[in-house]
């Protein structure tokens, strides 16, 4: 019993890092562009599908790690230029409807291209290490470590580079940033591409763990929304912490109740947090 809880917690912890990648993408897009990206899950799915294609046609899943996010960044750019940028500054419904429409398009497109059949990818790191009585797959440890590294790199990028400064400045005060000569439009586009790429990377990492289906994004988007709301928009570290907490709670609950009820528990936790602190655990008011 204790073993079960422990292994669920560890799995939850690992999953939490992957979820953090996706949630950070979501919160970046919202923090910067005030857009609730309902299509975020579809971007994650496309990343995973890319991983499938790389694994099958290029021989190894590893190709997907650079290629999928790159593809998603490109896709994000196209999406931004054709639709998102016309919605900036308009009310919530405009952006939500646009991303909702994008969700329809992306998910159906994925269905048409990839098909409705769930497929598995062979484990890219088929080793396991001895762990508390059993063995734990190295691949999962790699996922957590890799995600953490990417997140750290992201934070360094935001804090230390000039572009990162531009991003933070634009978020803080659009007008002043504009007046200081920062290419605000490009910053917006960049953030959207970055968020998309992060979602895609999450998909790549998740692909060997679960199976790759055209609508796998719908499951993850619930968790991502829960995390982002609970953490509050704005803090990357906060999103990571919330991700880990939620993933572990859902993971452990799923051992005892129906996995869907586990999600409901996750949602209940989020609602409870919001009651006490409406701006989220780490949100900036």
């Amino acid at each position: 019993m204790f073993d079960l809880i422990l292994s669920q917690m560890i799995n939850g912890f690992v999953w939490g890092w992957i979820l953090a990648l996706i949630a950070i993408g979501l919160t970046l897009i919202f923090g910067q562009l005030e857009i609730v990206n309902v299509a975020h899950g579809a971007l994650y799915t496309i990343g995973a599908v890319g991983a499938y294609y790389c694994s099958t046609y290029l021989g190894h899943w590893g190709w997907a790690v650079p290629l999928s996010p790159l593809f998603l960044a490109l896709l994000g750019l196209i999406i931004y230029l054709t639709t998102i940028r016309f919605s900036l500054g308009k009310e919530v419904i405009v952006t939500v409807i646009i991303t909702y429409g994008l969700l329809f398009i992306l998910e159906q497109g994925t269905l048409l291209i990839y098909g409705g059949v769930p497929r598995m990818i062979p484990n890219p790191i088929p080793y396991s290490i001895p762990f508390i009585g059993g063995r734990y797959p190295v691949y999962r440890i790699f996922c957590a470590a890799f995600s953490a590294a990417v997140i750290v790199a992201l934070m360094v990028f935001l804090k230390k580079t000039r572009y990162g400064l531009w991003i933070r400045a634009t978020r803080q005060d659009y007008e002043t940033a504009l007046n200081m000569g920062i290419p605000v439009q490009r910053v917006y586009a960049f953030v959207f591409c970055l968020g998309s790429a992060l979602a895609g990377l999450g998909g790549v990492l998740a692909a060997p763990i679960s199976s790759v289906t055209f609508n796998m994004g719908n499951n993850i988007i619930i968790d991502a929304f829960i995390v982002v709301i609970m953490a509050g928009f704005g803090s990357i570290i906060g999103t990571v912490v919330a991700s880990l907490i939620i993933a572990m709670i859902i993971g452990v609950s799923a051992a005892f109740v129906n996995p869907v009820l586990a999600k409901v528990i996750g949602m209940a936790v989020m609602a409870a947090v919001l009651f006490v602190r409406p701006e989220g655990l780490f949100g900036e008011v």
Binding site: V38, V92, I93, V96, Y100, N218, V260
Partner: protein, 322 residues
Amino acid sequence: MSLKERGKRWILFGILLALLIVAPHVLDPYRRYILTELLMWGLFALGFDIIFGKTGLLNFGMSSFFGMGSYGFVLAVYHLHVNLWGGLLAAILVSLVFSILVGLLITRFASHYFVVFTIVISMILFLLAMNLREFTGGDEGIIIRLRTLPLGPWDVSLRSAITKYYIILGVVGTAFFLVLKFFDSPLGRAIVAVKENEERAKMIGYDTARLKLISFALSGTVAGLAGGLYPILNNNTNAEIFFWILSGKAVLWSVVGGVGTLWGPFIGAGILVYAEDLLSSWLINIYPILVGGLLIIIILLAPKGILGTIQSALMERALQKS
């Protein structure tokens, strides 16, 4: 409104009503079914228009209410053996209670959180409905058979599609009329005031939280009532009804038709449901892509929808003349 304008309105209503009453006898069964569907979906989209068009809260999870109403009806008929009216009553009660509970939880939140909450709730309900198979029947659903309907001293047979049409027309028409009257009433106008400017509404002394809750409950109940009509039309319900795409359709139909106009949802549903049923099967594959594209185009280029744009144009003309 002048007497002449009122007269014009009543004449239009009358013509519309006459057309609707005659329709099932002149249409072929296929088109008759679509028209019946249109009424039901229009009512559903009306639920969205109430909470969004009239109150300004973007509820992207209308499928929750539709599903709750639908299952309320079916479960009451199946387990409690009530008749059609009992089923509709159950649909109304279930969705009313559900929307009050949810509304209490989420109407306090600001717009972005509110939207996400509605999305999350509807997705979770979908997963629950699909998973609790013993209770909901999953995607196969539950089949019911209502043979006759007690109507006063008579027992009307429910086998006929025309009877079903009139029942649905009656329910939708009555509900729509009541909603129209509601938004003409002081309470309805207070709700619209909250949408226009919540701060000012508060300053006047309105309890905006209570008003939002009332509107949310009304919106959910209307959508739930529409959900109760589904099993009347189709003799079953299933968990797929909770699917989030249905929520998107409510938004789409209202936006296309004209948000806030209350008639708009029916117009939007009319055009798009008809188009959807008309498309041949191969086009079904890209239909969601077309819907998505249409949503984007409409919200960017014609956000007021068909009726809204016409109304604005008419108002412009009236202003220019004066």
